[in-house]
Symmetry: C2
Subunit: 418 residues, 2 copies
């Protein structure tokens, strides 16, 4: 089976002047990668006919699939459509059905339709037009013998809908791409290299057609099994078998979920199961733990609220931290953070709590407590567990990593494995 | 003066498989744009000699400047250096001074130095080696007649240091680029089109060599004046004159600062001037306002703390919101949010407060209060001012825009212009 290659072309000045970061290409590359298509090159070019033609020539020399985003708006500088029509020996004609859809789109939203918007229904005669369910600019599929050239609008959520709904399934069918099945195991609180050490024997036993990748982000490591072959059922079973072997070693202490699980959601579900309410007391994380917990829709069912006790005065007043503890041990200490966690249970009237106090940086460090020294504690009505993290990054990253580690510590407490 | 063109080449599989979003290119493009260099094309390619050579051929056909990032690590797949050396008719040799620096780098950090790291000191004989002050892989400057080809490591903060410290100043000198001076005016709480309407007369009066751009992000619009010419003093004076004209219309009601100002920092400075303390009461923003305020290092001087009162119980208990207000008006109402703001002043013992309550979505909307209905209030000991925002985005964006609008509302209260 020969490797199918793709080139991604992004059209528009916003990227070339650095105003917009190209996030579309990463999304498309991931989706193509998942179906076994190799992305050969990613190119960003300007809205110029010559440049578009040159990029298409280059792309078609190396690739079977060319995905183009951007340059489809109704303004006059968007010449992508016209250039594509000419390149593929066609011309722009009015697509009445698309015009009606665009009119309906504006009518439904009670918005007036500018004359210029009508140009969105002018599309190449010889191409397959794909309806936009999230916006107004249609996508175009040009088939040149074996090769597929697809042009989509650059608006990220419109492009994502096209990719997921139509383009990826159609490419799988047309190119008979190898089946690649993925299975992810999500870990928190443990570095990539220690995880690798723990599951070395499993990794070494993987057959040639199954790969394991480590994808670390802030405090979380995603392990991704990718099985490549022809029979879906077999691949699925193999992935599940190896995932189970990995989970036998890592779950629940170091792994918290599978596939698209989100740590804050996992913890939310555990709280719901116990019919328990959570409260949070933050110092150096400044509200980010609460923000992450509430980023889950429906979190009001288990999250009652929190306190950002930035000053020592509010640590005492709102959480009942003792003045002598602050004087003797300092705000960044095991004793203080434990009192914060216990105080949250009592003063906020909740069942579980997370508390954090640390030196996020860049200032505030001392020889004994350098920047990156963070204490976290989690508590319920019976127990309080504290842990020290020694981080070494900048203010923003220290806060983000701490948030993940503290939420994970709560998970361990709820599961009673810490 | 002919336009100087650049191509950016990113080397490495992480971008082609979609694991990493290419943020480096946007940074480099911005910096080049600021010195009047036009970015012609941005290309991401794999770690392969043939592909690197092909990309260099293409880039040098169109561009005077080629910036390459990535592919400089000590692992065996990083063949960028060798390929560049061959391409420019050179070979890799040991650079003793660089080796000593790398050894010193590891020694200083008390970290053992792997043998493979020594390969970082193997660099092309015929190129200018530029020391890395933030890491270990050096940058290389190849001069081919008039053209400059520069290879840098892909680690963002290392690349940024090379760009700012050496590459941009050297390119300005070598290419005698036009001087382009920028001046930014930062606005909050007003849409792009309304701002444009207010300053239309000024925009129409700008001379040909001064451009005005509108750069909107979540709740903030940056206005950027770019003056192009030869005489720095004149350009600076012109920029300042037009910036002052714009500020005369927009500042302080709609504009909060200039250039690199950050809204939360501006508000922090206003609080410091008044020697006043801030407290925050959040519901739908779930902690993000506190998080943004505390993202400023030194915010503990004016930020005492906050409450994330997600449940009505905690709104009553921690902030003193009346049960009858919640029953009669609901949690998302002017009355509730005003009581939250006043309650923060009283219960937290602060001088100023921000309070927010709204329906971030996707659930919780009603016909009277659809998703995106947000009430914000700001207070001091004398006054409380409330405002309703009707937003229409997703949960995450609603929370982010609300945060900016609420912090800006506090700014207006402190300045006594609301």
């Amino acid at each position: 089976m020969s490797q199918i290659q793709a080139t991604l072309i992004t059209i528009g000045d916003e990227i070339l002047i650095g105003q917009t970061i190209d996030t579309n290409s990463a999304f498309m590359a991931q989706r193509l990668n998942e179906i076994g298509v190799h992305v050969y090159e990613i190119i960003s070019i300007s809205d110029s006919a010559n440049h578009i033609i040159q990029a298409l020539d280059t792309a078609l020399a190396s690739s079977d699939i060319v995905l183009i985003t951007g340059g489809l708006g109704p303004t006059k500088d968007d010449i992508t459509k016209e250039t594509l029509a000419k390149y593929f020996g066609s011309k722009l004609v009015l697509h009445q059905d698309i015009l009606e859809e665009i009119e309906a789109y504006f009518k439904k939203r009670n918005r007036p339709m500018l004359e210029s918007v009508k140009s969105l229904a002018m599309l190449p005669e010889k191409c397959e037009v794909i309806r936009n369910l999230k916006g107004t600019a249609a996508a175009m599929w040009f088939q040149q013998k074996e090769k597929a050239i697809i042009s989509m609008p650059g608006v990220p959520y419109e492009m994502r809908d096209f990719m997921t709904r139509i383009i990826i399934p159609r490419l799988v069918e047309q190119f008979n791409t190898p089946t690649i099945l993925h299975k992810r195991i999500l870990c928190a609180g443990l570095g990539e290299s220690i995880i690798a050490e723990k599951i070395k024997a499993i990794e070494n036993s993987l057959p040639e057609h199954i790969k394991l990748a480590y994808l670390p982000t802030l405090g979380i490591v995603k392990l991704r099994l990718s099985a490549r072959g022809t029979d879906v059922a077999t691949l699925q079973e193999e992935n599940n078998t190896f995932a189970q072997q990995i989970k036998n070693i890592l779950y629940p202490k170091y792994a918290f979920g599978e596939d698209d699980a989100i740590l804050e959601q996992t913890v939310g579900e555990l709280l719901l199961e116990k019919n328990a309410k959570l409260g949070i007391a933050e110092s150096c994380t400044g509200g980010l733990i609460a923000r992450k917990i509430t980023s889950i829709s429906g979190s009001s069912r288990y999250f009652d609220g929190g306190v950002v006790a930035y000053s020592n005065r509010l640590k005492k007043q709102l959480l009942g931290v003792k003045a002598e503890t602050l004087d003797r041990e300092g705000a960044v200490s095991e004793a203080t953070v434990c009192e914060m966690a216990k105080g949250t249970i009592e003063h906020l009237g909740v069942d579980y709590s997370i508390a954090v106090s640390g030196i996020a940086g860049p200032t505030g460090g001392t020889p004994e407590k350098p920047v990156g020294t963070i204490w976290a504690a989690v508590a319920n009505k019976e127990r309080v567990v504290a842990k020290k993290f020694q981080l070494a990054r900048n203010r923003d990253l220290n806060v983000k990593v701490t948030t993940t580690l503290a939420v994970n510590l709560l998970r361990l407490l709820i599961l009673d494995i810490v």
